[in-house]
Symmetry: D3
Subunit: 245 residues, 6 copies
């Protein structure tokens, strides 16, 4: 099984960290192709950055599907471009927020997402509403920029630990989801330290795609994810939109 | 007051029709700048097309805000790029689905959206959930491609009328929202024919932006719509993402 | 365009303040007829007062519609008698809580209503549930009686400011709605002071009715707002119920 | 125990029928005082009629409480004036829609309300949303005016039976609530005929008030049902609003 | 009328206390048969204990129905085995959490449940979601084991009082539900002390069953509560499952 | 990795079929221990049967955990005893309804569950509400008893096909979940025939447990799934409740 992991944040060190996490989570027969999105902002912090990351994510996933990967993962916690990618290909595609909420569900009644900046709380609240867990989940921000997670000296870890402690005490969270792909290397230590499940979305997504591919499940092609219709394009975007027809 | 109306569908005849509708709805002191998005697909039918329309919509709205317009309207019924555009500028920005659901709310307990293709039903169901009217609204598709609305001989009107009749009879709808910017010229006749409110999103959005601007209300700049942070970009998208800093 | 603004609180100084706010919000071609309800309590603080204010509100709105106004506004934040008034006339009718929640929606993900007494919180929570924004909105009370807002020396402003500060800090509110028609004169200063959108329902309702009337939208007359059937009345209420037939 | 049953519909024959049903449901030690509201429309069919029935209902309930009844029932299925009456007195007050939804809940997963005219569906849908059963309940209208229920030759019964049959077959209803006080005499026969629980709101409310009074439960007087504050009144309504202070 | 009250907690002193409360609540013509479940754990604190209490509860209720009782009450606040018992018999069956939420609903907009251990909060949150009151109710735990309530020297009362005080102040609760059958003897004193309605589920359930039986309402036998089909059993459970056929 | 699959229906041929499906879904390094619950009814059709199946399911899962399995699956679509089992052990435990709803979520906006008898629809509707997918999922019954699925000549397949066809046409389902462990052998053929994802819960649960175990995620042991406290038992149930202390 060959899986594509796309990092929508165009920062290579972050992609390398994600690749390591994905490979560590992958089963023995799974090959991980980790790529940085071919275009877009260095980090995604809120609605605006997401908009300009989507075309690169879709392009990368269509390229992967054409090259024969069996499933694809979008490794940014706002699940950048998820519906568009899913429409474009038949292989299963999951986002890391989506995968984390699905895998934490059987482990805990209530849980909390600890993300980076507070501006990301509203988009994540929309996602958990969509994924059906809003009654069980609170979103917290550690006030850590995404790229500070690439810098060991930033003090990010302490801020994340503080929010986890608050979530366990004040929100009655029974488990924690790390709300940024850049936190992927922290999950194991935090789980030991707090003695509760700490879910990293990258690992969760690898396992969820392995699960889907392992039993031959692919995206439905009737309804909202029907294959895109052929379209004429105006301007440069024609060069970025994958040629599907 | 000067308002920008952006057509995310890059089809000039459709923009012209939208411009006419917007000017017809506008108050005496309102100037309408109607533009076609500078890049993207000719029509937006589902998640995939939307993804490649967003950058052009944001670019056009940032350009408009820089040029001094007082508010902006996104004239595609999936409210293409709404959150990203809203984050990028301080002027109010509304989508036509959003505006239509807000303006129909005081007129009817239940209502129906009649859109184009069935693949657009799921994205619109997500929108009405977000806008808080899902319990009161059903989404129906007339099985009419967006660009068929530009073609008088396509039989589109009859199909739309059939869905309206079904909505009134089977869904207990008390009012109708036309679920595509390309239907903007049909509202008045359909309202007369069926004797219920028929809301065109383009007209609704013009009035909603006039309302917000008229009393000095602008987008909140704390929280989820805080101004985007400066970012380095990889690849061509840097040319399309507006320079905000 | 001629709009009727009815103050359900039968306090003339409050009506004068509302009239000023409504005229200030109105567009150039809009004439505001501001009236005090012809009967009812001096102020509306909770369910009981509302019950005895409704007949006067409906009477005033039917009188206005008969006299030819184009739309009507109910200027009390519990949207006193809204459904009854809407059933009685064909012109659009909006309440100030309703209008404020619709106009704030495109400006902020989360917001708070700051109202007068805590006994009004439950009725307002029912309204925001109905208007579809309960997930995004918290209702707070400043512990200020309605008529204290007519008295500059009451210390009301400081109490309102305290609740706004709490809403921004503790509720992650990105915008504020003033939850009483008597606060209409405070919006502009509070918006400047806190640098977030502060929505006054009176102004919002004027713009919302202008929006509806401007594009010819009126209340649906099928379903729940169908014209009342002729009825015999027992007792004095017959003199107060408008003769619709 | 002495209970007041107020018929908000000012039609004496209907009050007599309600009194019979209430007495039939009442326990051995319960005395039923059944009164017609002292003012208001002969029947309540939709939002408008309700508005002019409320003051009479509140007046009657305050008079009853002053005279020493132990609890009060509002015998119209739109629960006319429920919150206002509850605020005005300390004795428990229930509406017949409210009581029916509470008593049917332990008997069936899904149920249907069969009411009179379709214009009453939206107000009842708001009530079942408030009472927390909207996911389990569908509201149907038999197209029978309220006062046709007073006329044996109206064909009303056959229309009601038709809707019950549809509810059992199409809505998977496991029980039926009769959605008008005027249907109170039909419950027993319909239950036999369809062999499912058929709940009459009048009987349900008598038992629910007996339950509350039997264990000394009264309305909370903090929060939304706090005693009304003294108010000056403008106009004739002062004569109708009970003097509570 | 003869009612069966089953204590799923197999602790006789607790059953005696429940019996006293039930008899105190019962109407003059009501005979209370209070029994301890014939098998199961001494107290029910969380999901696991509940699982092993259910067979005994169902067995006791089927035995009661066979012996001719008119209705049955499950006197543990997690409503142990409610749906199974309801399927097995035609007489009405209610749980004490269920009954308490129905009876408190007409008394207060918001309320709180004060239960024993925090591990019981998640199961109770599932129940209030099911009963339709989750928006109005918060569940709090006093950190008191169930059997500590049988021990006057345990300090349990002070802990319960502390949570009630917090609920009134922080949750805007207008009424309190005692979240354990073992608290049944505390309701009257706590109601006096805090001057708000304090609902004991045992008393509430007695009155609710009296209400249902009093007007001849029984469980619907179509749909989810249809009589169980005859089944072969493996192993010892065959001895515990009542013979229904 | 060693996984325990427990069939709560005590029918060996069904367990054999489930074992085959589980092994077919399992990854190369996964060993499947498929067991029939040691006691309980031969098939589970509704609330009542479920109650008497739970003790055996919990017993089997505790035995498995003691013997060292890495995760456990409850192979009945009502997720029999899920919360109790999860509390009793630290290894992850999933139900097949739960697993199917999580795995279908990334594949389709809307989907339908096709189960056996209509009496199972209400319990399944409670489950999908809990799992957060009720807005996206409709439950249908094929009117097929569970054990008819063990009999090739029962005509069950044709009835299931008919409901799938209806779900695709009338509910806009984009994918199908088979709502009984006994249908596990039908998924592949039905997926081919209807050309949409058809999810078998047994296979889904195997993959979901493999996913959780593969990245070291286990049930949270704070909050609602905290280890059961030691308890004295009355009667025979003491022999069935696993000794956890």
């Amino acid at each position: 099984m060959r899986l594509l992991v796309v990092n929508p944040n165009t920062t290579e060190t972050m992609t390398a960290k994600i690749a390591t996490a994905a490979r560590s989570a992958a089963g023995p027969g799974t090959i991980i192709d980790a790529v940085t999105a071919p275009m877009g902002p260095e980090s995604i912090e809120g609605h605006y950055d997401e908009a300009f990351a989507v075309p690169g994510v879709v392009k990368a996933i269509v390229a992967g599907a054409t090259a024969g990967v069996d499933g694809a993962i979008i490794a940014c916690f706002d699940d950048t471009g998820l519906d568009a990618a899913r429409s474009a290909v038949a292989i299963p595609v999951v986002g890391i927020c989506e995968a984390a909420t699905h895998l934490v569900s059987p482990l805990a009644h209530r849980f909390a997402i600890v993300t980076t900046l507070s501006r990301s709380i509203p988009p994540l609240e929309m996602l958990i509403e969509r994924y059906g867990v809003s009654r069980r989940c609170r979103v917290r921000a550690a006030d850590v920029p995404v790229l500070a997670l690439e810098d060991g000296a930033s003090g990010a870890l302490a801020k994340i630990e503080r929010e986890i402690a608050l979530a366990l005490r004040e929100d009655r969270a029974e488990a924690i989801i790390l709300g940024c792909a850049g936190m992927t290397d922290l999950a194991a230590d935090l789980a030991r330290r707090f003695d509760v499940p700490v879910v990293d979305g990258v690992a969760a997504a690898v396992k969820m795609i392995e699960a889907l591919c392992g039993i031959g499940l692919r995206t439905s092609k009737i309804g909202g994810y029907a294959p895109p219709l052929p379209k004429k394009y105006l301007g440069a975007m024609a060069d970025f939109a994958p040629r599907l027809h």
